[in-house]
Amino acid sequence: MFSLLALFALTALVLPALTRRLGTKAFLVAAVPPAAAFAATFARTREALGPGVRERFSYLPQLGVALDVRLDALSWTLALVVTGVGALVLLYCVSYFHDDEPGLGRFAAVLTAFAGAMYGLVIADDVFLLFTFWELTSVLSYLLIGHYADRRASRGAALQALLVTTLGGLAMLVGLVLLQDAAGASTLSALVASPPPLTDGRAVTGIALVLAGAVTKSAIWPFHFWLPGAMAAPTPVSAYLHAAAMVKAGVYLVLRLAPAFAAAPGWRETLVSLGVLTMVVGGVRALREHDLKLVLAGGTVAQLGFLMVVCSLGTAASQTAGLALLVAHALFKSTLFLVTGVVDHAVGTRDLRRISGLGRRLPVLAGAAVVAAASMAGVPPLLGFVTKEASLIALGEAPQPWGAIGLVGVVLGSVLTVAYALRFVWGAFATKRGGVQTEVSPERPAFLAPPVLLALASLALGPLASLVVEPAAAAAAHGMPGKATHLVLWHGPTLELLLSAVTLAGGVALFLLRERIVPLQEAIRPRWTAEDGYRRTLRTLDLVATRATATIQTGSLPFYLAVILTVFVGGTSTVLLGTGVLAAPPLFATAAQTVTAVLMAVAAIAATIAGKRFQAVVLVGVTGLGMAVLFGLQGAPDLALTQVLVDLVTLIAFVLVLRRLPARLGVAHGSSHPVVRIVLGVAVAAVMVMVVLTTLAARTATPISEAFERLAVEIGHGDNVVNVTLVDLRGWDTFGEITVLVAAATGVASLVFVGGRSDVLPALRGHRRRGRPGREHPVDPEVASGTWLLAGRTLRPEYRSILLEVAVRLTFHATIVVSVYLLFAGHNAPGGGFAGGLVAGLALTGRYLAAGRYELGLAAPLNAGVLLGLGLVLAAGTAIVPLLLGEPALTSHYLGADLGWFGRISFTTSSIFDVGVYLIVVGVVLDVLRSLGGEVDRAYEEDHREVRQGVPS
């Protein structure tokens, strides 16, 4: 069965391409999967009606999640209906559409996928698999209803159907979770075999929610309105989705659960009363409509109500009758829709007031329509009659009073059914006064074949029902209370037979009096329909959303931040005070820490009131240096080193940006609501102190890091526990982090390089990047004589500092060596890729500061993008290569060799990861320098050149 589902999916995937080549003939291919599924299902009849067929695909064995499907009598019947009708409808599409139909490929694919989803829905045993297919049919039906996407009515109807059915589906999901929780099993078969006690609140609520899903999907009042709207779909879609398949999903679910849950409180009450109401509302509407499709839509709504009434009763008789009724309805209603499609094609309208005399011109079609309509009306010897008789018997034997209420409702509704069946046949085929008698060409046999075949099935299955339909229906009712009804034409002179006769007579009378009852119809026409309710709800929702947005969304970032922080303070403090773990841990303070902390506090407060940018930046930098001191005091040399380096780079980056901004911080609007901000700041600080105290009081377990030292030596082969943690023990975290670094560096470059990003650093004209200047080229006297750094001459003399140039020239290479040393020493001593990379970055910064952006181009061996990419490749490679060797990702290997006289060398593969980190950090610094440094310089020079040229002197 899984292979069939795969066949559906594959066919749907190739159909768009096929349609381009074959046109509508591609539907012949589309019909293959449902036909194959039909054949495969039919071939397994014996097993399905006996023990049932099960298949299981273990999806997440570790969590016990599996996809279960099964074919029992109920699934078998439904599967035959959805695949059989599906195949015929797809064949019908060959003639219905023209090759130039827009969006044909997508339509074909979606309709085939829908058939697959429907097949999956009826064979799914796992409730969540069922839900997945259920929602899949909703979404695909949205696409199918909205096929004519250029029409507003079409789009609106599609959205309406989607909203109603998915909302119900959502309720159903919650219900399924509750049921699964109460029963401790997630398959439908287990739920029905050993249902949770009906006194369990979870079970009762769960069932109610599942029913919400069923009634929305099956268009039961008050959710019925989406079905007439969905007639905006192409007619084959209406025939398949809205007659045979999708709307039956709700009925199927009720049939599936009825054996276990029909006695649940509210089950029969809700379903019978809503079903009766739906049957009457739909029937009345069908008698009022003039569009043939809308007549049928009203009829479908009514029949779904009928089905719901019968299927909800939960006796053996009702189960047999309900399933048979479902088959009968699928056959005659899809016939009638397909007939309507042919009529529409032939005449060009579906308005029954304008069609006239079609019966004589298309006799075969008219014959099929008459058979189907008669089956719908319950005329013997058709399948509709047999199943209606069985339903009436089942209602009579059902638990009272709901059986009786259902019986009265069904008889009343059936009178209407007879009337609108007549109205349909009369409307489509009769010769009417004042009608337009259009000349029609005879339709191709291939176009007529699907409806005729379906009509023949209605005809043949009537007398043969006891042989063909009954075995499956009776098997589906196995084990339910009462005895199954027989699906035969003649039960003897019973009350049911009398009721059938009365119904037929009443319906004929109602049809004959159709002119007279028009005023009555107008009088009972409801002022307020469910659809109005839907519209009003949507409008209210829009209004509330707009109002809420207008209130909340003021467009001010400080306001948003204040709201976020207020919620944080309120929520967190409530929880923290509620837990009551505020037992203060022992406090201590060392003199060195206290002095540093006081200095940091002073610097931070001064930063908040500083009037000039540089002042504020330097003060914040002071707190950073204080951090480094605290790290050192705490026993964290790596952190102290990194913090100092980062602080320096940040300061430089800030200065690079700030030199183009005015010196004074925005004074005019600098201090709006200072009191509020102070209060919020103090509140956040207090909450964070509470967080620390509570967390410390809660830290009672042994820290996992106690094992880190041993692991670092054994797994990582390194002594510096922090570094080994970064590159090995917690390597994935670091990998995520360096990815963020790459993203941020790219962001910086993209923001600054406005007119297209160039990855190449500017080259100094007249010099090659490498090699000794001045040998191959004519010697520039300035270069040859007094420049320490090559690009120094590109700076204007007043910007140059010989002292700086000399110092940079002398220290650059040494600094690079130090950075490489830090990188490799970091495995065993303080250092590592981060610190090393930052040192190298500082060396580059020195070159840039001393001689400008051309010097940076000379100093950097590779451009930033290459460095970042290379670093990521190395780090990712360290993660992936072990996977190829069948080991967990990031597994590190140790290579040690004793070189005797030269000592011992040791190398761990995680060092490659650290090299990646190093390269990325260098790349980030380089990106910052060339963006915030070089490019800002260039833009500045360009602006000033423009100004100079713009003003004639």
Partner: protein, 137 residues
């Protein structure tokens, strides 16, 4: 576990000052606020790490907790990258608007004041001609 009052105090002051600056309209000050909050958060991790100790180098006896240190190390570098990005933002907004302060986001305000979006409800009239099969319409 014991906690250092000095660390706790410094953390509290840094948080308070950071939030104060964060709620400014000047973008430069917002970045400074974020830097202060970043430092404060690193102090929070440090305070949670317990009492000071020797550097966590294997074989040198009992040491300070290495795990928070690894967390802080990555946090320091990420804070740098994020602040560099914010600085680029400041520069960009300055280049475009010569403005270093946050304006009200007009697009945000427009959402709330905009006209009612039209609901795509199905057309109400019952006579609506639904589909015309391709070609005949």
């Amino acid at each position: 576990m014991s906690v250092s009052v000095a660390l706790l105090g410094a953390m509290a002051v840094l948080y308070a000052c950071g939030v104060y600056l964060l709620l400014e309209k000047s973008v430069t000050r917002i970045i400074l606020g974020i830097l202060l909050i970043g430092n404060a958060t690193n102090l929070l991790l440090l305070a949670l790490a317990g009492p000071p100790g020797a550097p966590p180098i294997a074989g040198s006896g009992p040491s300070s907790d290495p795990l928070p240190q690894a967390l802080i190390l990555t946090a320091i570098v990420i804070t740098f990258a994020v602040s560099a990005f914010l600085m680029a933002l400041v520069y960009r907004s300055w280049r475009i608007a010569q403005e270093d302060r946050l304006e009200r986001d007009e697009a945000d305000v427009a959402v709330g004041q905009g006209d009612q979006p039209e609901t795509e409800a199905a057309a109400a009239d019952e006579e609506s001609e639904f589909d015309r099969p391709g070609g005949t319409g």
